[in-house]
Amino acid sequence: MAYLAQKPPLAPPSNELRSRIPGWGVDLDPKDRPAVPKEQFKPDATGAHWDFPERQPARWPREKSPEHAFLTPVFGTACPPSGISGAIRRYAYRFSEGRTSHWLLLLMADRIDVMESRVGALLKGRPDSRLMETGVLSEFKRHGLRSRLGHHRADVKHQWIDVLLFAAPYLAVTAGALYFATRRTPARRILRDR
């Protein structure tokens, strides 16, 4: 017990484990493990044959964290920022990674990007399809119900929230429409009074 000096006998003897578990103890020596010690200075063993890499040409003013002294010599070129989301993203990169604004702006831009892209795809004649893009058809091919029911899954208990979040915008629009349809507007009153 923890209340006494000796460790409680919680584990079986090592020789038993060695005979039962394939590979038990092959990396037993804590000092003989690949990332021990954590920092090992081996600048010549990485394959790099430069002190500082050549610089990749930038095809647009590349967004960069102010916590970097300069644009890193190599960077990704997927999805240049564009539209409203792009403007927000570029603005977000004025803030350091230590600032919550940086991340919240980026998350907001992500949501706007989705809306912009949906319209863009429609205009380009390649509209988004909820049915195909969510892969929801696999529910029928891959035992959606059988996978979830009767297995003590924790996530099944709160899946109703997903339904609610999914339905929320539609419910809001319907409620709004009903409200305006039944409200006594001046225009309606004039029509009715005539």
Binding site: A2, R33, P81, T134, G135
Partner: protein
């Protein structure tokens, strides 16, 4: 070329994209033959990672054939079969020089707090990933390695991320002979962490999850004891009793940002995305480990804040170790283990989907349908 493309939370599709081009003298273009969907991809898929742009191609676990190389590339040639670590790294910065490849400082202008990762949002550098027919591989002289003749392709894919990550998870636990190790999460990373814990001499390995079929995998593949946390009243207390009220010597969080098990954490994080990750498993790890023990965190969290019980870390005098795996420094040892039959990474693969059905592949993985543990993606009919 055909490529998986992100269209917004829970939506992906295959599009015709331009084949990537050499953009830097040390780039290579790799024709992908096999890729995988990682638990990390699910965080992007669910819209949790800031600066995940519509149109990005995901995929940081892949192997393939070198198709083209830039003028300064010396170590690989067109035609070589290569495996590519998920870290993009320069090999020459402060961090790479110390073998901390996941911390490379020369490849990610978007953030200084993380290195570069293929297909992992702009926060990780804005690189397209390998769930596509072709991918741009920067620093071809540093990252990719020829797949040894004796190694099977599916083992090689799992060695680009999941397997070394699990191994590093155990390694960061500083496991000593006879230690009690508790692994939270029986996904690919957790399974490899559990298996690796034995290699380092653990005395008991206990795996926690809520998916019975994955726990069965943990018993069979990783020879672990298992607990379904929905079947006990209080997992922390349960583990204390199991360890004679001492607590585990080492806890490994192999769950990360979308941990289940607490209604409010799930609502505030997974559903409303108001946290940088639901730290349910992390908090359980902190509370289940013994005082002065070690918590190793390989589960991924976003850059926003999370409601972590840090007071307990402090009061208990815990050591917290954490990292994105530095894949390549683990390869020599792991290659040896695979060759000697100590490890069989591909044993956890349950699904193989063609690239053009990737939307269903993601849904199956995300919703844990059909007893899915690990899904591979094939670019040509398989």
């Amino acid at each position: 070329m055909q490529a998986m493309v992100y269209r917004g939370p829970c939506r992906v599709r295959v599009e015709n994209k331009e084949k990537p081009a050499i953009e830097h003298p040390n780039d290579a273009i790799v024709r992908v033959t096999c890729a995988a969907i990682c638990g990390s991809d699910l965080h992007l898929y669910h819209g949790l990672m800031p600066d995940t742009r519509v149109g990005m191609t995901f995929g940081h676990e892949f192997v393939g054939v070198v198709d083209e190389v830039g003028p300064s590339v010396q170590n690989v040639r067109p035609g070589d079969r290569v495996m590519v670590p998920f870290n993009i790294c320069c090999g020459s910065c402060y961090f790479c020089a110390r073998e901390l490849y996941s911390c490379c400082h020369n490849v990610n202008p978007n953030a200084s707090a993380v290195g570069g990762i293929y297909g992992y949002s702009h926060t990780c550098g804005g690189y397209d990933g390998g769930q596509a027919e072709y991918v741009r591989v920067p620093f071809a002289d540093v990252g990719p390695t020829a797949i040894p003749d004796w190694m099977e392709e599916e083992d090689a894919v799992l060695l680009t991320d999941a397997c070394p990550t699990g191994y590093q998870g155990a390694e960061m636990g500083s496991i000593k002979e006879g230690d009690v190790v508790v692994v939270f999460g029986a996904g690919p990373v957790g399974l490899f962490a559990a298996k690796s814990s034995w290699l380092m001499g653990a005395g008991r390995v206990i795996v926690i999850d809520h998916l019975d079929y994955r726990l069965e995998k943990a018993r069979e593949f990783a020879h672990a004891e298992t607990i379904n946390f929905t079947q006990v009243d209080d997992i922390v207390l349960h583990l204390k009793k199991l360890t004679d009220y001492l607590g585990a010597d080492v806890c490994i969080d192999a769950v990360g940002a979308e941990a289940d098990g607490s209604f409010w954490q799930v609502v505030s994080n997974n559903k409303l995305k108001l946290q940088g990750g639901s730290p349910v498993a992390l908090n359980w790890a902190i509370d289940s480990v013994r005082k002065a023990g070690t918590v190793s965190v390989v589960g991924a969290y976003g850059p926003l804040f999370s409601a972590v019980k840090f007071g307990d870390v402090m009061n208990k005098g815990l050591t917290i170790r954490s990292a994105q795996c530095s894949v390549k420094r683990h390869w020599p040892r792991l290659f040896q283990h695979v060759k000697n039959g100590v490890l069989k990474p591909s044993a956890i693969v349950t699904h193989r989907v063609p690239l053009n059905e990737i939307a269903e592949g993601y849904h199956i993985m995300a919703s844990k349908l059909d007893e899915c543990v690990k899904s591979l993606v094939y670019t040509s009919p398989h």
